[in-house]
Point group: C2
Chain length 338, copies 2
């Protein structure tokens, strides 16, 4: 029953996404459409189970809409769920260019296949589409409520670019305090996840005070999610993550474990300041970083964020199958190794 | 009186833009904010009269709102005008990366100063901001009308990416028909100009039938504008255009004069198919293209588009100073050499 609901939601999201992206399936823009269906994991070489992404954000939005008000049909929230997933994928396409990443979900990235100029435009196209899709909420939701959702949605997108700016600018900064990590990931990662949970709540008609609890739940869930991602980016497994192994050490990303290591001023920190880490030395440096306590620190911080998320989830007291899945997801997401 | 109105509108637009972009003037995102104010022509090296762009689109939107309904205060349309100008500037920042352009308005482009990754994000930021700014129309306009405007706005942005896709894909195509030029520039250029005139009309409360006439006016104005730009891109003057001279021949852009020359199958066409045109031979090839009639053809086509624009402008029968300026602009814009 519970699994059924999640499956129903996931396949409804996929159908909505396919129908919306189908707007570009026209004679003049066939290849443009192909870039998008490739990135979404529906077409092209190397298709497989893990090429589509997990669609966590739209699922969270629908679950929050299903559990917030038993009288609200979650199907009415589908355009909102699809819009959030489209924004997420727009940001991934641009991220991969910015990080010079060759692989995403075990396949060549869009810029690797079609070049940087077309990949920039494919990202822009998904973003433009997401804004249009959001307005489809007007079909089954009151205009006033859709306006509230749109305000959060567009604010969140602006925050995404703030976070992305910070992330990139941190790469060249040598005097970064550990606390500067938080505004960066709050904008870069947690913002879109908290927008998912908050918009889900708003669509069901919840007032500002109640929807704020949903936002906080998503915020802490997002922070935990990002720190977990930081851990996987250093100690993860290439096949599990679909990205290049230990790429975060090689690209010099200032993730939480790295910032912790830098501030420890030990062997890792000295090596870090000597310059770029090469592929063949990365496993040893990852071990050293773990020895200095960075992995444990990051894992404990993840747990703290999960506890905060659970605190707000308990206040939400989500009902029915959707509620069960939200609790499951909160734990399960954080045990993930991919 | 007439000039006063245009000046008042232009300075109100600039003030609105500065206040909106000011949202990013925060300790964490100072440099991000600086990228935007630099691109908008308000800060940084090489400041001058022509560093800000002409703000044609917001002016058109305000003029259409002022002339469409004498009871509507154009000041209420300012967030719409600013949103359109922000989208335009987002697309310019990404365009310059995609075209590998070094200069914009006589200054180094954003990617030249801050690198491609940050420039992609600065464009994304302006776009996200534009979506948020559009919602500020809710302050002084009915929600239902703002929704109509938003639908046009977001559809237009999606069309921009369609046009940009076509423009880039045409570069590598050797079998391009002359008629394929039109859907490309309709999306890439005319869409945002027709959105400006149509949204201006909609905000004043005009119905679908009347606002459609405004859309058509903007559509033909936009087509004329782009063909004029194509002419300047080959036979223009670097100081006037603020871009590199004859850059369109060197980059291989399939503009209207070039497509005309290719289909003439003369000396120009043979040289075109032999491969990249170099800087030192470009003036001679530009002369040859003019000799084969491409410049005259493009100029005559511009005139036809202006005539169509005037036809719809006459149906609109815009009133007062705003009306006078719209007629002036339609002619003046097309005599521009910059």
């Amino acid at each position: 029953m519970t699994l059924n609901l999640a499956n129903n939601m996931q396949s409804a999201v996929e159908k909505e996404l396919q129908s919306q992206i189908g707007r570009l399936n026209e004679p003049n823009t066939n290849e443009f459409y192909e870039m998008m269906t490739y990135h979404m994991g529906w077409s092209g070489e190397g298709l497989g189970e893990n090429t589509s992404g997990k669609r966590i954000r739209p699922l969270l939005l629908l679950l929050c809409s299903a559990s917030g008000n038993p009288d609200y049909a979650w199907q009415n929230a589908l355009p909102g769920a699809a819009a959030i997933e489209l924004v997420h994928n727009f940001s991934l396409i641009h991220d991969d260019i910015q990080d010079h990443s060759d692989k995403r979900r075990n396949r060549p990235t869009v810029w690797r296949k079609w070049g940087v100029p077309q990949a920039i435009n494919a990202g822009d196209g998904l973003y433009a589409l997401s804004n249009l899709v959001l307005l489809d909420l007007l079909r089954n939701n009151q205009a006033e409520i859709v306006m509230r959702a749109a305000l959060i949605f567009h604010n969140t997108c602006l925050n995404l670019t703030r976070g992305q700016y910070m992330d990139m600018s941190y790469e060249s900064r040598t005097n970064l305090a550990l606390k500067e990590y938080w505004p960066m990931i709050a904008n870069k990662t947690a913002a879109l996840i908290s927008a998912s949970t908050e918009i889900g709540a708003i669509l069901t008609g919840l007032n500002k005070q109640s929807s704020e609890v949903y936002r906080q739940f998503g915020h802490y869930l997002g922070l935990a999610y990002q720190i977990k991602d930081d851990i996987l980016g250093i100690w993860g497994n290439e096949i599990q993550t679909g990205k290049s192994v230990i790429s975060d050490l090689i690209t010099g990303k200032k993730t939480l474990p790295v910032l912790y290591g830098i501030h420890k001023k030990g062997i890792f920190s000295r090596r870090w300041y000597e310059g770029n880490i090469m592929v063949d030395e990365a496993p040893e440096i990852a071990d050293q970083l773990a020895k200095e306590g960075a992995r444990l620190y990051a894992e404990e911080t993840t747990d703290q964020m999960v506890e905060m998320a659970l605190k707000f989830l308990n206040i939400m007291a989500p009902q029915g199958s959707a509620g069960e899945i939200l609790f499951d997801l909160t734990f399960q997401l954080l045990k993930r190794d991919a």
